[in-house]
Symmetry: D2
Subunit: 313 residues, 4 copies
């Protein structure tokens, strides 16, 4: 058994130093350190990495960090919800989001055309610009063909964006498929619908995407899951690994708890009963706000992987 | 301002009596009572009701209660994830689920072919029977046509099930559309994929579903949201009402909190900034486990609606 | 293994019927049913029952229910924080508390002399009346003696209150000791301090209370814990049972989670490592808002105990 | 309104750099940055700082960090529970605690004499050594006098410990009072009781401590609260500032939520209704595990304060 160690502040402490301290301190700090180590191991062992996150994270500044991770080779597949796609595009075409407050006068915000996501704000104009852009993009894509799996559609869209901080752009550039199992669940869906009204043979072929989900990895590959938050994104990543025999590495990071029985709160232990992750997997469930916990754990991991020359570019 | 009232146990207390007590007691009891009242009002005012829940709830005994609610006319649209569809079918074709424990030996469960969902258990055999059934169902449906919106597909499937406790059956029987925006995110998706491998012209037309989502209600209709849990189901219901001018009534019931900025934890207050619900809507966010809070609040509401003769059948 | 059972609403359903339904439905409903059963068993087996709760519960209408439970013989010791004592007295001398909202303009409330406790409100006047009352009470008690253990002090105070809904009154009347390990942590403490300024030999002998904590039960007695919420109250009850060999029955009901390592979130499983509860105890941790979960579980238990003639009076 | 900024990993990133990034990213990262800034401001403005934490934090490696903060002048008063006192002494006399797992066989741990606190472990031997030590310490203190306020008692005990990492030692050395409002709620309490059995005139004078609580600061002083976790410790710190007109600065950091109405989850907004903190206070509620969030926010603050020459020693 390893000992609990008292730690102290040292001036200009580096993130990896603090993560090291936390690993022998207690509670979620210990789990955070395990998560950081697990990131290192999954990359070092050449695992196929499934990175999944919810759209609020793309609303936040994590978006640029996710784009960087894709560029560095830390994701072999990205799974997210359509809000991430929409907001990634908004930012890529020049829209800014703003910092607000959790306790706001939401009726006043509504009157000003400002939409709140926790303590962040998105203006209606950003949606309007997205809608104009996507309308035009769909026209171009329809010229090429009328039946689009989501993975292919998002790949083409990514290539239209010239923003190094864009998740879609980095996915396209680095040949990382991006999955969005509920592509219609947002403004994007509404525009797909309007487009189909005018072009009845226009189709989104979600079933076809399943092939790509299966072919990210094989039974022989090692597989790693980085599940940030819950919902369909988390489940889809797990489904992808389950179909190929289960993951060897998994980090679940979330504020949801297991007690409601939801998939969002389901732990890596529960995942073993399903074979979603292997019986002897290196797996850790961290309970905490991804906005803080994830960069901290991943910054420390990247420092290590960088030293070992395991990052792209 | 109304007063806090001390309450006491009375023998054989009825649920609506206890809910009444809680309404002047404190904390989530007060919000629960508001939720119960809101259910009554949305029905009394003839609002189009969007009922949304996550798949763990269909794993639980709430499934039969949801079926009953559809039958009683308490839902004009149902939105859920594909796990609900799968498990509703399993139960309808005779499979049983079991009660387990949160703290289980999950590796041992895996070896026994038992999958855990919180404190509930699903056997592999139930999945196997589902898979055989759905394979055969898809063959029959493909005879009719090759391009299926999800709403139509699930309607046909519902008609094949003869189980009064089935959500799909009651939806089909009562002409309530059931939406499942991420239809491929589960075993069902895998079988859609296998089927498409053999029948390349077989298509799921998720874009077409959007029309149905829009046509559930109009701008002129009053609209009510009952969002149980979070994720894509919750968002899709909200999207549906947003497109028609926002809801007049909304109950969000969840264990998720707003602090992570996720849609799952987003409150009815936040929804007002988006126009998802109207500025002056009767809206309440209840923080609590749906497995307990929802039947309690809804049982009390149904007793009232029953007295007023507002329930079907 | 028992099966998950679909349940349905029946008109005028009783609380014990719903609790029965939930017991075979899923998630916290199952744990709630176990809690209800555990309440029945601890009483049926004649266990010494340690009832503990936090002061916000005394702010709410649970206060009258707790008083009733003491009267019915459902508690052999009560452990709480000084806020409960203060607010029980305020209500007993005629003050009312009010229902407010979580999202309030707290600065405006402050200007109006209104203090918020979640969605409940306490006026400054209630504190002022409490302070006048306690000042006078301390004078009377000091006539009797100058060195008071908390248990004795609260017993005398209870006798001064003539309110059937008062926790202190029912404790005194039914010879149930009430413990308050941090008696100075509130307005009461401030008045003890002021009184001691004028009467330097006036003493609160908290150490002496420890004897009473030990003598509630013996090693030979069966012991049961009902811990509502966390903090010092919960810990003190557990400490009391630990000193006599650990509890045979325990229900922890809280919204706190184990992940922070706090005692508030500590589970009944963790308690076994300490011997706080026995290895083979009938123990259940329920995650949920006490304002709803507790009356529900306890109402069902009281119906059963009433039938068995096991309640006082 | 400030913009949301995408951020990226940079090699060997320092903690204050990451905290800076998070401040314009989103969600709890933003609140964490505000907390860090608030720590800087309260120190810069010469506020009297009330540092409060729960005992599980003293179990963890935060204990050494708290000791360092006291040494650096970041606390004018410390308020905690008796578990912190006990465990600080255990560590100071050479006992080690160990790292375990949340999901443990707690019955097996019990058989091995090992007690679990989340994912940390304390051996029975550590309690035995503490008990022998405290027994002897009480004998010595009783030679001096028989009536001890807790603050004085803990000051003397701190002087007996020669451990730079000890909270009690640093408090004593730096003349920082340490409050423990429920001193009897633990093994320490049991030994106070045993000692009083043999020395009936031995008294703990908790009422006398109230004077010290009041005299930490005056109405004219600026006051700052750093409340880590909840419970009696948090409440007592707030009570201390309330009595002197309310705090100008407050950081609440916790995993508890406001929805249960508990003091543990009470926000800095709610505190304003009471005058616990001033209407225009610089106040922030951060929802997150203290084991991670606090060192992160405070490390960044200390780097800044160190540059400004505002730290002791």
């Amino acid at each position: 058994m390893s000992k609990v160690e008292d730690f102290q502040w040292k001036p200009e402490r580096k993130v990896f130093g603090l993560v090291e301290d936390l690993g022998s301190s207690g509670f979620q700090g210990i789990e955070l350190k395990k998560a950081s180590d697990c990131f290192v191991k999954m990359k070092r062992e050449g695992a196929k990495i499934y990175l999944t996150f919810t759209s609020n994270m793309a609303t936040s500044g994590l978006r640029g960090f996710f784009a960087q991770l894709i560029k560095l080779g830390m994701a072999n597949a990205v799974i997210t919800t359509v809000g991430s796609v929409e907001e990634d595009i908004m930012k890529a075409i020049g829209e800014d989001f703003y910092i607000g407050r959790y306790y706001s006068d939401d009726v006043a915000l509504h009157e000003k055309g400002t939409n709140r996501v926790g303590n962040l704000l998105i203006k209606n104009e950003s949606y309007e610009r997205f809608e104009a852009w996507i309308k035009s993009a769909l026209e171009k894509l329809y010229q090429k063909k009328n039946r689009w799996p989501v993975v292919e559609l998002l790949k083409e869209i990514g290539l239209m964006l010239k923003d190094e901080n864009s998740i879609l752009y980095q996915c396209s550039k680095n040949k990382v498929p991006i999955f969005c199992p509920a592509i219609t669940d947002g403004a994007f869906g509404f525009h797909l619908f309007l487009f189909q009204q005018d072009h009845p043979d226009f189709m989104i072929d979600v079933v076809k995407d399943f092939a790509d989900l299966i072919y990210i990895s094989s039974h022989d590959d090692k597989k790693g899951i980085i599940a940030l938050g819950g919902g369909v994104s988390k489940h889809h990543a797990i489904l992808g690994t389950l179909l190929n025999g289960g993951a060897e590495y998994a980090v679940y990071m979330t504020t949801a708890h297991e007690h409601s029985g939801s998939l969002s709160g389901a732990t890596t232990r529960e995942a073993k009963s399903w074979g979603k992750i292997k019986d002897d997997a290196d797996a850790v469930t961290v309970i905490g706000d991804v906005s803080v916990f994830f960069p901290m754990a991943m910054f420390a991991a990247l420092d290590q992987l960088s030293k070992e020359g395991l990052l792209n570019g």
